[in-house]
Every structure is written in structure tokens, then in C-alpha cells.
Amino acid sequence: MRDICKHYWTVDKKLLKPRAFDLLPIMLIVTLAIIPLLPNRGDTSTFIIITPDERIVLPAEVDTVITVESAVGPMEIGIYAGKAHVERASCPNKICVSMGEIHNPGSSIICAPGRTAVICIGEEEFDAVTR
């Protein structure tokens, strides 16, 4: 019989021990994870609320409380003194509520089960999102 599996079931032990090179993917992951967190420069910020059915654009200067319909039920979002936060949510975890206030362009509150997000953006990014 042709021995097609000669090289099976053996592996160099050296390939299994952790090496210094393994720090490279860790650094790569950390770098990629930090990039979206860096604050963008923007003078006036705007909040965009994305729900499964609609997109709402709210200026940061005007204080409001708005209730939107997420995929898991109503969600109450408040904008106060240029900062947005989720006041009440219908999901069991309430991660969005515990995320607190956002005001830097680039920051966001995302509710994955509700498929709803509140995103703070600077002026020049405005077109890219609403288009």
C-alpha cells in the first residue's frame, strides 16, 4: 500500500513550545483594537442613532431624551450637555446602560442584541455615515 501518511502524527516539539515570536500576533491584536478607540479631531460632534429600521441624527448641543425601538424593545437615549447615554434599555444585560456617557467623536454605545448603536461623530465624517 502506498504510504501516503508517512508524515502524519509526528510534529516537532519545538513548534509546540511558546516562543518570543508569539508576542507579535498579540501586539498586532492590541494595535488593531486600539485604533478605533483613538479620539478623532472634530469641533462639533453629532450623535447618530442606528436602529434596525431607522437612522436618527441628533446635534450634541440640544438636550433631548428620545425613545427608539431596538430589536429587543424600546430603548431610551438621552443627550445632556453634549453627552449621550442610554437611560433605559429592554435587554436583560443592560451593557449599553452601564457604558455611561459618550462625547468624543469616534466613541459609541452599541447594543448588539438590539441591533442598535449610538455613535458620536465629528463634522467631516457626517456624510460617510448618513449617505
Partner: protein
């Protein structure tokens, strides 16, 4: 080392795909507090195939695991299925490429790369299919940072199994 034929390879491919599928389904059924964080332990089966069989066998194990799992959970063709399939395929391709290229990464590094590309692909495809790409950018840190821990964990488990498995096979 005794001579082993084609049926041997097919048997082990099937067994690894079945193990990966079983782990994947159990993981899917456990409620996760954060929807985007999963240990991805099914990747252990892919890593075993990658190291103990032909590197390209890892791709077969990975893809058949997702196809079987989707059929069993009734998700075949859904958005979640397309997201899983693309993530599993690309991360397996990347791991095979790294293993074949002879880059000096250990199983931990390969597993980390697999976790990274799994997360990135899933984010990208989810951004196109479900969310907007812009919203997904802000979700990236919460997907990628836990993947360091899960990647190391999966790599370690696979290493433990490979070391023990090798000892067994040599005494055959």
C-alpha cells in the same frame, strides 16, 4: 511508524470534524453574556489537524465543522451561518499559510492569528450583512481584545492534546 492508508486519513478527518462540530454546537447553545465573545474551542480540532495531519486537512475539518453544525442547528443559509463560515474559512486559511510558510510561530502564535482573523472576518462580513461597516469599527476592540485570551487558551489545549496524542500513536 506503521504504514497507514487513505482510509486512515478519512477516518481521522471525519472524527476531528465531528469533535469540532460537537464542541461548536455546545458552545452555541451555552448562553454567552456578551454575544461576540466565545472561547472558540472548536478550533482545537482544526489545530490538531493542522499539526498532526496535512496542514490543508485543517481547512477541511474547519469548513465541514461549520457546515455540519449549521445543518444540525437549522441555521444553514442564515446571516449567522455566512458569518461563521467566512470566519472559519479565512482563519483556517491563514493558519495553514503560516504553518506551511515555516514562519517561526509556535502553536500559540498560529492559534492567535487564527483567532484574530476569525474575529476580523466575522466583523467585516457582519458589517456588510447586518450592521453598517462604520458601527462595526467601534465594535472591533471588544471583539479583538478577548481573542488574545481565547487564542492562547485554544492553543494550549491543542498543544496538550497533541503532546499526549503523539505519545499514544508512537506506541502503536
Amino acid at each position: 511508524m506503521p504504514s497507514r492508508g487513505k482510509s486512515y486519513r478519512i477516518t481521522y478527518l471525519a472524527a476531528l470534524a465531528a469533535i469540532g462540530c460537537a464542541i461548536w454546537i455546545v458552545e452555541e447553545l451555552i448562553p454567552h453574556p456578551l454575544p461576540w465573545i466565545k472561547p472558540g474551542l472548536a478550533n482545537i480540532a482544526t489545530l490538531i489537524a493542522l499539526y498532526l495531519m496535512r496542514p490543508s486537512d485543517a481547512l477541511i475539518v474547519s469548513v465541514s465543522r461549520v457546515l455540519l453544525g449549521a445543518l444540525l442547528l437549522g441555521r444553514f443559509g442564515s446571516a449567522g451561518f455566512i458569518i461563521s463560515l467566512s470566519g472559519a474559512t479565512l482563519s483556517a486559511l491563514v493558519m495553514v499559510a503560516i504553518r506551511k510558510s515555516g514562519l517561526p510561530f509556535s502553536i500559540y502564535g498560529v492559534s492567535l492569528f487564527g483567532a484574530l482573523f476569525h474575529g476580523l472576518t466575522q466583523l467585516f462580513v457582519a458589517g456588510i450583512l447586518v450592521y453598517s461597516l462604520r458601527a462595526v469599527v467601534f465594535l472591533t476592540p471588544w471583539v479583538l481584545l478577548p481573542s488574545i485570551a481565547t487564542g492562547l487558551l485554544v492553543g494550549h489545549f491543542a498543544r496538550m492534546i497533541i503532546v499526549r496524542g503523539q505519545a499514544k500513536f508512537h506506541n502503536h
